[in-house]
């Protein structure tokens, strides 16, 4: 490890990470009991009615999208019957959504891998080492969140053009990774801070190198954090429109958000095709969130707040 970095001297009193909380005393138990009683006394409808209204508010646009995607063109029925797959067939084959999907998946997965990998290294350095410009660096990371992507468009375009990366998925992957990294590094460093240094030290004593100790001891404990950061990187790059529009030109390189926009013409909109494209675009995001929601909540409660 470089000598310019002095190890953080926090071995003596590591903060508790994901360890069990202290056993609750009598007062705590009483308070919790009272809270639970108070919750039980609330009539069920006062819980379910607002939740139902909120769900309706959230789900109606999705229903509308499915309705337009699944009912035949020209139908004004409020239920998608008879069902038709014509719009899906049209966007997938005629409007090249199959190709856009593949490109978006490449960008999403590559951004996820690069963001998570680099954020792990950066986050570890911030969490475990003290160095001279650490606070300024953290401040710079935070400040970079205030810069909108559109502002960087022309400089990035020029740089990628000189690197011959225009019209290559690489340009979008790099740009997405760069814009995701600051927040990801901050989040990961928060997660790593919550893992006691003593665990790593125990591994060093057993003969592990720092890297081996990190992989064997720290990494498994970071799973919720990695899933949170990785999923956000994937979903953000999956949905991002601007970089793909500006850096990619040829049709066989374009991504789903750009493809969706090409379904809106100057004077006419094929609503069925647009809705079917919207469903195709939403499916991976819904699947990602369905599988990771447990980890996501654990991840944010364990890392982001305390970070």
């Amino acid at each position: 490890m470089t000598a310019a970095l002095a190890e953080k001297d926090s071995v003596a009193a590591p903060p508790p990470a994901t360890g069990a909380p202290a056993p609750p005393g009598r007062g705590t138990r009483t308070r919790r009991f009272r809270r639970e009683r108070a919750f039980d006394d609330v009539p069920r409808w006062q819980i379910y009615l607002p939740l139902t209204l909120y769900l309706l508010f959230t789900l109606v646009p999705f229903y509308w999208m499915l309705l337009f995607a699944l009912r035949p063109a020209g139908s004004t029925a409020l239920v998608p019957w008879p069902l038709t797959g014509e719009h899906f067939g049209k966007v997938w084959h005629e409007r090249s959504f199959g190709m856009f999907f593949q490109n978006s998946m490449t960008v999403g997965v590559a951004t996820l891998v690069m963001t998570t990998g680099i954020a792990l290294a950066g986050g570890y350095a911030l969490a475990r080492f003290e160095f001279r410009i650490k606070n300024a660096f953290m401040l710079a990371l935070l400040c970079s969140q205030f810069i909108p992507g559109a502002l960087m468009l022309v400089p990035l375009f020029e740089i990628f053009r000189n690197l011959q990366l225009i019209n290559s998925l690489g340009s979008v992957i790099i740009a997405e990774t760069v814009f995701q990294l600051p927040l990801s590094i901050i989040l990961i460093s928060g997660f790593i801070k919550n893992v006691p240094v003593s665990l790593e030290e125990a591994a060093w004593v057993d003969g592990c190198s720092r890297f081996r100790a990190f992989c064997a001891v720290v990494l498994p404990l970071l799973r919720p954090g990695l899933i949170a950061v990785g999923s956000f990187a994937f979903v953000h790059s999956w949905n991002h429109f601007l970089f793909a529009l500006m850096f990619l030109s040829e049709q066989d390189k374009q991504t789903i958000p750009v493809g969706l926009n090409t379904l809106i013409g100057a004077d006419s909109v094929d609503l069925g095709a647009l809705a079917a494209g919207g469903v195709i675009a939403a499916v991976p995001v819904v699947i990602v969130f369905a599988f990771i929601q447990k980890w996501l909540i654990t991840g944010f409660s364990a890392g982001a707040v305390k970070g």
Binding site: E158, L245, S249, I264, S268
Partner: protein, 455 residues
């Protein structure tokens, strides 16, 4: 820590610092090199090259998606006729074409040929990115074969006097679509005059049954449609009177007052947020008597209603039976200055604007061809709305109010600045007169600035 360990650590620290400084210097040098290299070639003002007339050219379609199929067909025809030229087709979504051009002008990477509409032509011309094409047209087979009103529209929109910066390929026309089934059931004749329009709007409205006479555009694009309705009713045929705009002329104010009174009385309340997509979808799926939109939505109406239930006519006539309408944007093809193969690029433009290709494209798009021979083709007469629109544009019966698309501020004034104000008019939070006075002030200021810059 022993003395030796401290010394070792000191050495490691010094070496690390040296390495750090070297790395930082290398990164800085890299960034500077990239920045310096980036300054070398942008899209604006670059003179490009005539090239050999062979090889590859890139074409940006400014309405990518809906027109992709027909463009690919035309490109295939072109490549078959010019075996030594290969065209790379790039579809750009219409909603973002202006920002895509602006970024490419600033950062480089413009195409050889690009689709450009008169609504944003001035901005590209002002950045010195387009090649004048007047001389090339004069030397080509297109000479004398382009619809004069469209040529004038392109010249005016370029804002550089008589010079042309795009070859017109098509135009659209404001159309009043009406439901023939509802009109027949109510015993109404086609709304060919503004009086008939207002009568029909009232008679066809039955809010309890969710039936309305008209759908008004209150969201994106509302100002252009309001201008069309105002000038159509007032009969004023010029946008400028000296250096002042006529938009707040008392006759236009009265016309707008009458027009916005339709809101909620004869239109759905949700119209305040209508952009063209919502407006068309609402008309296609609801019970609404009339809709003002251009020819471009014809296929949507056919899909939703079938050919029997609706018809489209040019805007109603006003005082003295004269039809006045505002100019609709003309679409065209621009040759970019930065092109390194202008000869091949021009061949492509010439081919795309020729009789056969222009006819094919406009038939697919349901628009009016810019090529005079294509405008006489049989398919135009097969679609009644297109036939009537083409006739109204070419037989001299319609007075066109040329909107000042050449003003670089035109889009910001009529969209970002004043569309929310028009919504306030609909909602009764401001008066039509106050709205038009504000719009007039903005336009007069933009015109004065433009004149100052072009002295």
């Amino acid at each position: 820590m022993t003395h030796t360990e401290r010394e070792e650590q000191h050495m490691r620290t010094s070496t690390g610092r040296r390495r750090g400084r070297t790395a930082a210097a290398a990164v800085m040098a890299g960034v500077l090199a990239l920045t310096a290299a980036a300054c070398g070639d942008d899209g604006s003002g670059s003179t490009g090259d005539e090239g050999s007339g062979k090889g590859e050219i890139t074409f940006w379609d400014n309405n990518g998606g809906p027109r992709t199929a027909v463009w690919k067909e035309i490109i295939e025809d072109f490549e078959a006729a010019n075996k030594d030229i290969e065209v790379t087709y790039v579809p750009i979504p219409i909603t973002d074409v202006q920002s895509k051009y602006d970024t490419a002008i600033a950062g480089g990477g413009l195409p050889d040929v690009g689709g450009v509409g008169t609504a944003y032509l001035a901005g590209i011309v002002a950045q010195n990115a387009l090649e004048p094409v007047g001389e090339r047209i004069g030397d080509s087979a297109l000479k004398g074969r382009l619809v004069e009103s469209m040529v004038e529209g392109v010249k005016a929109a370029g804002g550089r006097g008589d010079e042309m910066y795009a070859v017109p390929t098509s135009a659209n026309n404001g159309t009043l679509w009406y439901r023939t089934d509802l009109f027949e059931a109510a015993g109404l004749a086609a709304p060919t005059t503004w009086d008939a329009f207002y009568t029909a709007a009232g008679k066809l409205t039955d809010a309890e049954k969710n039936a309305f006479g008209y759908t008004i555009r209150g969201g994106a694009g509302s100002v252009a449609q309001a201008l069309d309705a105002m000038y159509g009713q007032s009969g004023i045929t010029a946008f400028w009177k000296g250096d002042r705009t006529t938009v707040n002329d008392p006759a236009n104010v009265a016309a707008l007052e009458k027009y916005v009174r339709l809101y909620k009385k004869a239109t759905p309340e949700a119209d305040v947020n209508n952009d063209f997509a919502k407006m068309v979808a609402q008309w296609d799926s609801g019970t609404i008597g009339m809709l003002s939109h251009n020819l471009g939505s014809y296929q949507d109406h056919v899909k939703a209603l079938g050919e029997e239930k609706f018809a489209g006519i040019p805007n109603p006539t006003g005082p003295g039976g004269v039809r006045v309408q505002v100019s609709n944007p003309v679409d065209g093809l621009g040759l970019f200055k930065a092109s390194r193969n202008k000869a091949a690029a021009w061949k492509f433009i010439e081919f795309a604007a020729s009789h056969a290709s222009n006819s094919k494209w406009n038939e697919a798009a349901g628009a009016i061809p810019a090529n005079t021979e294509a405008a006489k083709d049989a398919w135009i007469n097969e679609s009644e709305p297109t036939k009537l629109a083409a006739r109204s544009l070419t037989d001299g019966s319609t007075k066109i109010v040329q909107l000042p698309y050449y003003l670089p501020d035109w889009n910001s004034v009529t969209k970002a600045d004043n569309e929310p104000e028009f919504q306030k008019v609909l909602l009764g939070r401001t008066t039509p007169k106050a709205f038009l006075d504000q719009l007039a002030d903005d336009l007069n200021e933009a015109q004065a600035e433009w004149k100052q810059q072009n002295k």
